[in-house]
């Protein structure tokens, strides 16, 4: 069948074909825009994330420290407050008893620490950046127990390669590689900008480290569990990178 015949059968001449064809192509391109891209690419994207994870863990140095730029202002009450529950999660003492932080898993000496216990442990205040996955940063001073002090207290088993930070903000949790948890700037924080942590920012205690993106820093802590394997996380399971390191 020659082209002319084909065209006449379909009631199209070449010009119409070109116009309508290019219209279709551009419509398809427009539809592809703002989409998640082809499904078949997911395999490639997952592969890339796994490879990037190796690169990111290789880049990690315990000696790399977050430094706040001179002249940077503290965010103060401009620090956004995020939680997944419909309302600000507040520990209900009458229903659940006194709040305590359980540190357990692959450890020699599991403990339950009240807020008073935490405050009696060695204390640091770090004025550091908060890196949000969305792209903003905020300078704050976080006060709390260095994570390494907690690890020493519970005597971590060498087989523990990951740490899960669990919360009472619904089922929110995020698991970390142990190197990031043992970084000097990682603290279990109960103070923000010189005051006790408020419910809006994760009271009574939260994990805080500038070496992880905001969503990895679980608020409203209930449990810290040392594990042999990684355990995903609330946002990681929804498709954000598990590593989330800065």
């Amino acid at each position: 069948m020659n082209t002319r015949k084909f065209a006449s059968i379909n009631g199209l001449d070449r010009r119409d074909f070109l116009i309508q064809g290019s219209g279709l192509v551009s419509a398809a391109l427009l539809a592809a825009c703002n989409s998640r891209g082809p499904k078949s690419a997911n395999k490639l994207l997952n592969y890339a994330e796994r490879k990037n994870l190796i690169v990111e863990r290789k880049l990690f140095r315990h000696t790399s420290m977050d430094v706040v730029q001179s002249g940077a202002h503290e965010a103060g009450n401009k620090l956004p407050s995020y939680f997944i529950a419909p309302t600000v999660p507040v520990w209900d003492e009458s229903a659940r008893g006194k709040w305590a932080l359980e540190v357990s898993g692959l450890v020699g000496n599991p403990v339950r620490l009240s807020l008073d216990d935490l405050q009696k442990l060695p204390q640091v205040s770090n004025r550091v950046n908060h890196y949000c996955v969305e792209g903003w940063t905020a300078v704050e001073t976080w006060t709390g127990v260095p994570f390494t002090e907690l690890a020493r207290l519970v005597r971590v088993d060498p087989q523990a390669q990951f740490v899960d930070f669990q919360s009472f903000d619904d089922d929110y949790h995020e698991s970390w590689d142990i190197e990031s948890a043992m970084h000097k700037q990682t603290v279990v924080a109960y103070g923000l900008d010189g005051k006790m942590l408020e419910p809006a920012h994760g009271a009574p205690a939260r994990v805080y480290s500038p070496i992880k993106l905001g969503y990895k820093n679980t608020k409203y802590l209930t449990k810290i569990v040392f594990m042999p394997k990684m355990n995903g996380g609330y946002w990681s399971d929804q498709g954000y990178e598990w590593y989330g390191g800065t």
Partner: protein
């Protein structure tokens, strides 16, 4: 042999140049689209509790149709996967360094004068197309600047990917907030250069499109021999004469 004249059997673009060019097209489109989707999660530069001096559209989102990836997490996956495609740029630069093609692109004495002559020609203040080598002076400047902005985009991108682990790099650009800004500016420069490039290809030298696929280019069709301005003298000289004759006969 005059400069710019194609030697027989020599291709205008080496296959490595052609391949890296088209890989770059895909990489730039995906990196810009997914980058803008990431940007839209916080379409501003100010640190929380501060103002930012140098971006007039703080907190105004980029139109969604310009973005790619669908959602923040998806766009981040595309961005961090496709960043490896930028190794392609390194292949290109290494090749043109080893193969000598860089000589067609580096600025030389007289380029500013030649650029000015091109501007005069394009704005009808000069009759004849200025004499040129492989590229005209304005093209040369664009193809020289593009890898520079590309490198800036890559380096600032790494700086905001790992602002703590690579803190010394991030501080070179003035810290995270500014590195993120320079990353955006580099993207903007690449987009502007690319858009102008594509426009000029269609408006002045569409014959260069097949040459970027097959490598072959007929110098008879070059803008210089056609005396071509945007949308002027798109057809080769002889061909336009043919048309005139034919029309007269009809």
């Amino acid at each position: 042999m005059r400069a710019g004249e194609a030697r027989l059997g020599k291709k205008r673009h080496h296959w490595i140049v052609r391949t890296t060019h088209w890989v770059n097209v895909v990489a730039i489109i995906i990196m810009v689209g997914s980058g803008l989707r990431i940007f839209n999660a916080y379409p501003a530069f100010a640190r929380k509790g501060e103002m930012f001096c140098c971006y007039p559209f703080e907190h105004k989102a980029i139109p969604a149709w310009l973005t790619f990836g669908g959602w923040l997490g998806g766009a981040r996956h595309w961005h961090f996967a496709m960043m490896w495609a930028l190794v392609n740029g390194l292949v290109y630069l290494t090749f043109i360094y080893l193969h000598g093609d860089w000589r067609d692109l580096v600025p030389r004495k007289g380029d500013i004068r030649d650029s000015w002559q091109m501007v005069k020609f394009y704005t009808f203040r000069r009759k004849d197309h200025p004499h040129q080598g492989k590229h005209n002076a304005l093209q040369k400047a664009a193809y020289f600047l593009l890898p520079i902005f590309g490198a800036l985009a890559v380096v600032t991108g790494i700086a905001i990917w790992k602002p703590v682990q690579l803190a010394p790099l991030t501080s070179v650009f003035g810290g995270y907030v500014w590195a993120r800004y320079w990353h955006f500016i580099a993207m903007l420069a690449i987009v502007i250069l690319s858009v102008v490039h594509v426009f000029m290809v269609f408006a002045v030298d569409p014959y260069s499109i097949p040459s970027m696929i097959t490598g072959n280019y007929n110098e008879r069709n070059s803008p210089e021999s056609r005396n071509a301005r945007p949308f002027y003298h798109l057809l080769p000289r002889n061909m336009s004469i043919d048309f005139r004759i034919r029309r007269r006969r009809v």
